[in-house]
Subunit: 197 residues, 2 copies
């Protein structure tokens, strides 16, 4: 196989990249972005070799502890459990949360062979024992598997943390009630709150 | 900058990849495709280092001559001029053309500083002299710049080749005349042919 074909094939492991866009990417790099291609190959090689998971929170990092876990200014009374490092990034970009995180790197999915061990439940218990947070916030996705995972973690931590909470589900900002699905509306009604006076 | 951020940034040189999809790609590789990521980094490094342009036709290749130019079974009476290696791939996948190619790797675009030298006109003249084709087919894109390029090449080769032709423009197969743009319909009418009896 030629070097070009090998590159086109290898590019298809990227999510959302099929044969046609892989070809476009390969030709773009070869014709117009040699330097960028070199830089990308190097960055990828370095990331694959160096990046592992944080010993405390299982987020991705190239150090023993990630930057968030090493930051002493964060609020140790709050621990937020999420499914993926992407969720940490989204929550950090949103701002507003100043506690620590724990990343499951997955969700309970018995059919795919993902049980509590794969989600680092032992590490979560260690983290809770070490941090002693007042509240654990479960921010897994509002899917069947995400809900099951939240339920499992809630039971696991029931008698170890003062408060275990779940993020609110409801009508997202900027959307229209008319076009919101029934499940979301039901959650929005059940989770209603008194209007502040 | 962390290795993860460096990877996310470097991925954005790929065409059609913005910050959000770069992040998704980086996390996908780091969480689920370590081996694939290693393979991709290696394939990219090799391709950037080895792939150059064919001495005869300016197509991309890792050898002095590309596979098409080295194939003695092709029809040396036909030479097809295209803008990009992607066009060669598309024509080869379509089948039906058995001649040789010449790749301009661009199109005349004075505003972008692309003149005849950048498109390898000297090499094209060499190639024509060496191959002595009976016909040169101009398969540049049906855009203003592609048409100007075809016109320029046609004049250049006027007295050096028996026949210089342009690919047909018209209604593409599987489309509907109702929804075809006016320029295409005008070309389709002008390029009409007698129905074979």
């Amino acid at each position: 196989m030629s070097a070009i074909d090998a590159l086109i094939e290898a590019l298809q492991i990227l999510p959302g990249v099929g044969p046609k866009s892989a070809q476009r990417m390969a030709l773009h790099l070869l014709l117009r972005e040699r330097e960028g291609g070199d830089r990308l190959a190097k960055a990828m090689e370095v990331a694959m070799r160096r990046v592992g998971v944080c010993q405390a929170c299982r987020n991705l990092t190239e150090h023993p502890l990630c930057g968030l876990c090493e930051d002493p200014r964060r609020d140790s009374s709050l621990l937020c459990v999420v499914e993926s490092p992407a969720d940490v990034l989204a929550l950090e970009q949103a701002g507003g949360f100043r506690g620590y995180y724990f990343v499951l790197n997955g969700r309970l999915s018995p059919l795919d062979g993902v049980g509590p061990e794969q989600l680092g439940m032992d590490q979560l218990l260690d983290r809770v024992a070490q941090l002693a947070p007042e509240e654990v916030i479960l921010a897994t996705n509002p899917t069947v598997e995400g809900e099951a995972t939240a339920h499992y973690v809630a039971q696991l931590l029931e008698d170890k943390v003062g408060r275990v909470s779940r993020i609110a589900h409801g009508v997202p900002l900027g959307s229209e009630i008319e076009y919101t699905d029934g499940g979301t509306l039901t959650h929005a009604l059940l989770g209603r709150r008194d209007v502040e006076k």
